[in-house]
């Protein structure tokens, strides 16, 4: 039971890190970035490259992967979103352009590493186990949970208390007014994408470390779960996304106990559908969603 709970909190933390980046871009720019799962996958593969090819230890690979995915996020915006933003294109366009980037990047990764599951070189990933009574716990999962919570607190602090946070919130409210008020909009957008993608990349590295496995499509299951997390928490609400992530993590682990494995995914999508239909504003959503 304790192990189940521990796993649920771990899964919830990964979902939270992933969904936070997703929700940040959505709340500031109203973009559903379908390349976010790709950034997640890219983080894991950059870590693999640094460890496997450059032969550096994992604690060097982790910050490098986070930095590179953050920079990739800025590039992604310049290539796929900025031209559409300048034209004032509808929301659908940015979903499709991010999808195009996904096609390209996934294929590039597959050209180098193939499409199958791979693992890190033996002994290169941190692994330690601790025991409480009869139960065994993997240490890396505990580290991931703690790290996630700390990062969420930092992000909340930045958004609420710093000038960058005030700029981002102004931008989310009204881009034109933000520019008139002297907000450096381009810098704020770049910061949004950097933070969002760095969080996504971090989630990817951490999950790959925890399971010691990665593949070019590892982000896909998280994409639809991130929708669930955001909708349950309230689209665009960051605290909501965190709560939604843990609700989903707990629910999934519980449903694994009570339901056959084929129905595991049903929980996430059933929850998503129900919340959309019954309470589209989610748990913490303030902005009224586009309802007729």
């Amino acid at each position: 039971m304790a192990e189940q709970l521990y796993n649920a909190v771990f899964i919830g933390s990964i979902y939270a890190l992933f969904a936070l980046g997703f929700a940040l871009v959505f709340s500031v720019l109203d973009i559903l970035n379908l390349a976010h799962p790709t950034v997640f996958m890219l983080g894991a593969f950059i870590a693999l490259f640094v460890i496997g090819t450059l032969g550096l230890p994992w604690f060097v690979a982790l910050p490098i992967a986070v930095l590179v995915t953050g920079l990739f996020g800025i590039a992604l915006d310049r290539v796929a979103f900025a031209p559409l933003r300048r034209r004032g294109a509808p929301a659908l366009s940015s979903m499709i352009s991010s999808l195009a980037v996904t096609l390209i990047v996934v294929r590039l990764v597959e050209l180098r590493y193939g499409g199958d599951f791979i693992t890190f070189p033996a002994g290169s990933v941190p692994a330690f186990v601790f025991r409480v009574g009869d139960a065994t716990f993997e240490g890396i999962r505990l580290a991931i949970v703690v790290l996630s919570v700390v990062l969420m607190l930092i992000l909340t602090y930045v958004l609420r208390r710093t000038q960058l946070g005030r700029d981002l919130r102004a931008l989310a409210e009204n881009p034109r007014a933000a520019r008139l008020l002297g907000v450096d909009v381009d810098r704020a957008i770049a910061a949004t994408f950097f933070v969002s993608s760095a969080l996504g990349g971090l989630a990817g590295v951490l999950l790959a470390f925890a399971y010691n496995t990665l593949d070019s499509r590892m982000g896909v299951p998280l994409e639809l779960r991130a929708f669930t997390v955001m909708v349950v928490g309230g689209m665009g609400s960051l605290p909501g996304a965190v709560i939604g992530a843990y609700v989903l993590g707990l629910g999934e682990v519980a449903s694994l106990v009570y339901l056959p494995t084929e129905l595991r995914d049903a929980f996430a999508f059933g929850l998503l559908f129900l919340v959309l239909v019954l309470r589209p504003t989610g748990l913490l959503g303030q902005k009224s969603p586009d309802r007729v």
Partner: protein, 290 residues
């Protein structure tokens, strides 16, 4: 001679797939034209495919009847679903229909009669090429006529301004629902046809990837008229085949084309074909769906 017949066989499958893609793109075009972004058509395709294949297998239902029942089943599912989800708009509508699609996929995965994860194998190849292309012609013609009718103009009005349309006496909810249900009917039909081309189907054929792919066909082709989705489906389905020698790089090409079209051709490929009409419509600001 073996080489020639092999080549023909490969070729005819591709031609069949292009036609099926065109039908699917047309099915999603309907809702796009009414300004609604839905991603449920892959699931409706799946319903059509499974229902028609199972009817043929277990009840010996004649092929056309099985196809018809399959597509009616998809539409019958779309009716209550649409009445629920069309309370939502924009991204919320897209996500809700996507969630529905995933639920259908999970149900297919968990039900014994649909063969769970293995899907159905050995579906008889009853679909002829002319079945598919006749369907494309009929659907395109009907939609083209509908587009010019009162209903079509109502859809366009809803796309431009829902509240204004409602105030002019257009039954907004019913028109959206009609676009959605007719789209499901077409997608179900396409699913039945395609199941009897491909020999086997499984739940992963009708998931998220397929839903997005169908949308991409329609958007890349362009939504001003029915020609767009057909063009988009044709090009994007044929392209991987044309790029077969560059197999390793074809996703990269496809992604690049997608990116270029969405950034530089907001009205889709149909811009090239129908420049004068597209320009006129774009001047009155009617066509930027994507």
């Amino acid at each position: 001679m073996d080489a020639v017949s092999d080549f023909l066989r490969t070729y005819s499958t591709t031609i069949a797939v292009i036609g099926v893609s065109a039908l699917l793109a047309l099915s999603v075009w309907l809702t796009l034209y009414a300004g609604q972004l839905t991603l449920g058509n892959a699931a409706f395709m799946g319903v059509g495919a499974y229902v028609s294949a199972l009817l043929g297998r277990h009840l010996d239902t004649p092929f056309p009847v099985a196809l018809l029942i399959g597509s009616v089943a998809a539409a019958a599912l779309a009716l209550p679903l649409g009445s629920i989800v069309f309370r939502l708009r924009g991204v919320y509508l897209a996500i809700a229909t996507l969630a529905f699609g995933e639920i259908v996929r999970v149900v297919l995965l968990a039900t014994p009669i649909t063969g769970r994860g293995q899907g159905l194998n050995g579906i008889p190849p009853k679909t002829e090429l002319w079945h598919i292309y006749l369907s494309v012609l009929v659907v395109a013609y009907v939609l083209w006529r509908v587009q010019g009718s009162t209903i079509g103009r109502a859809w366009a009005a809803i796309r431009e301004d829902e509240i204004a349309s409602a105030s002019q006496g257009i039954a907004v909810g019913r028109h959206k629902l009609a676009a959605f249900v007719i789209g499901a009917l077409i997608a179900g039909w396409a699913g039945g046809l395609s199941a009897h081309v491909t020999f086997s189907i499984d739940p992963s054929d009708f998931g998220f990837t397929k839903a997005v792919q169908v949308l991409v066909f329609a958007v890349v082709g362009g939504t001003p008229n029915v020609l767009g989705p057909i063009l988009g489906a044709g090009l994007l389905t044929a392209l991987p085949e044309l790029l077969r020698p560059l197999k390793d790089y074809r996703d990269i090409f496809q992604g690049a084309i997608l990116l270029l079209v969405i950034i530089y051709l907001p009205r889709g490929l149909v811009t090239f074909v129908d420049v004068r009409r597209t320009r006129r419509l774009s001047r009155i600001g009617a066509l930027d769906v994507a």
